[in-house]
């Protein structure tokens, strides 16, 4: 046994921020997922290059639709729901830092509700397109972007639900306070990534 030693017994059991391994794992996962969306954006722009008329004329319907522009009002509402949902996420994030059990329960409950509403709203967004995914390459890439993001809303909301159930049944400890904060980071990403994607798939066909 050595007389010199590095005693770590006094070190904290967890860190609530970017010093945590979980924080890095989550962030790097989001980097991977951002790459997925970047590939889909590249596909969208590549498809754009290959159609002289954009969005492509929809010939697979009983009546040919010359300009199948995506509807704007409903998806804009979904975007607003998502943007507003950042507020409970930020509050949960801050309250977790203060180890406020009750505050985290309330704000996470609201966040889960927002997630469910956003998922349902996005589901109807998908059905408000004049085209379905199998109509042409443009339709496929738009559906893939929108439904991959829907999948993220569902996954994040499921994760938040699990987190909420835990928070409801246990007093908040530092480890789970960190998990709440990491879940909030995921939600910031879900909302943040949708802003450029929304602009691309709803305004892209009108201006590109």
């Amino acid at each position: 046994m050595n007389n010199k030693a590095l005693d770590v017994s006094a070190l904290p059991e967890s860190a609530l921020d970017h010093r945590s391994l979980i924080w890095w794992g989550n962030t790097l996962l989001l980097v991977i997922e951002t790459t997925m969306f970047a590939l889909l954006v590249a596909s969208f722009l590549y498809v754009r290059m290959n159609f002289p008329i954009f969005p492509p004329v929809l010939t697979t319907r009983p009546i040919t639709i010359l300009h199948p522009f995506p509807e704007l009002a409903r998806p804009t509402m979904t975007l607003l729901i998502l943007i507003v949902s950042v507020i409970p996420a930020i509050l949960a994030d801050r309250l977790a830092l203060r180890m406020n059990s009750l505050g985290v329960r309330v704000t996470f409950g609201i966040l889960v509700l927002f997630g469910i509403v956003a998922a349902i709203s996005r589901f109807y967004d998908l059905h408000s397109f004049l085209f379905v995914w199998s109509d042409n390459a443009y339709a496929s890439v738009v559906w893939t972007i929108a439904s991959l993001h829907l999948m993220h809303i569902i996954v994040a909301t499921s994760e938040n639900t699990a987190m909420l159930l835990w928070a409801m049944t246990h007093p908040l400890d530092r480890k789970h306070a960190r998990d709440v904060r990491v879940s909030a980071v995921y939600w910031y990403w879900v909302v943040g990534i949708w802003i450029p994607l929304y602009l691309l798939i709803y305004f892209g066909p009108r201006i590109l």
């Binding site: 050595n2 590095l6 070190l11």
Partner: protein, 229 residues
């Protein structure tokens, strides 16, 4: 790399002369196999065909590639013989047969699952050359759960202890569920929906921590001895 870490992995040294034979046979064989394929490709031969017309003139280069493949086979056989030979002897190679610089050579060959009873403290990129036995060790971690020391990113100063999960059946179940879902969607879209729900439930089970007993670790005899008053 295989020859380098084989002693750490098994505790046996591989024979030097046979190792050199393996290297040269594989090195020459590999280049003899694959370099002619570049030229064949430029001449228009497609990959993964087993026959072609004699008039194409690809015969000589393919013959050279075949000779190369047999040399590689000979190199591989030399390696297998080397491994079998090394298993016969009883003598082990010690912890650090290469006088190497990195930390894996500080523990026993083959290493124990926990690697170190006391985690060493490292102050350079070649800790073995800094006389590791004089380096301080980490103390103060608990034996009741798995912990790793997390350091700051740039300075590598100890920052906090991160608790690692205990043994769990859930990851295996997740693997089975994902595999079954992937196999299922070849035939029908419905398994995607069912699979997603099952996977989500399994993930819930996995993340729902707290049901485990406090200590799941089989402790090493050394740690047991330390723990005994």
């Amino acid at each position: 790399a295989l020859h380098y870490w084989y002693p750490k992995w098994t505790g046996h040294m591989l024979n030097d002369i046979l190792g050199k034979w393996t290297f040269w046979l594989l090195f020459i064989g590999f280049n003899l196999t694959f370099f002619p394929m570049h030229m064949l490709g430029l001449e228009g031969m497609p990959r993964r065909v087993y026959t072609y017309d004699a008039s194409t003139g690809w015969g000589t280069l393919n013959l050279i590639a075949t000779i190369g493949a047999f040399l590689m086979a000979a190199g591989s056989i030399a390696f297998v013989i080397n491994v079998l030979r090394s298993r016969r002897g009883q003598q082990t190679c010690g912890n650090d047969p290469w006088n190497s610089d990195t930390l894996e050579w500080a523990t026993t060959s083959p290493p124990v699952p926990y690697a170190f009873v006391y985690q060493p403290v490292i102050s350079s990129i070649s800790p073995m050359w800094d006389d590791i036995s004089r380096q301080p060790v980490v103390i103060g971690t608990t034996t009741h759960k798995r912990e790793v020391i997390t350091t700051t990113i740039l300075e590598a100063l100890p920052d906090h202890k991160h608790e690692m999960p205990a043994d769990s059946i859930w990851p295996v179940l997740l693997g089975v569920a994902v595999g079954a879902t992937m196999a299922g969607i070849i035939f029908h879209p419905l398994p995607f929906i069912i699979g997603s729900i099952v996977v989500l439930l399994i993930l819930f089970g996995w993340f729902w921590r707290g049901g485990e007993p406090a200590s799941l670790e089989k402790r090493s005899p050394e740690i047991e001895a330390e723990a005994a008053p």
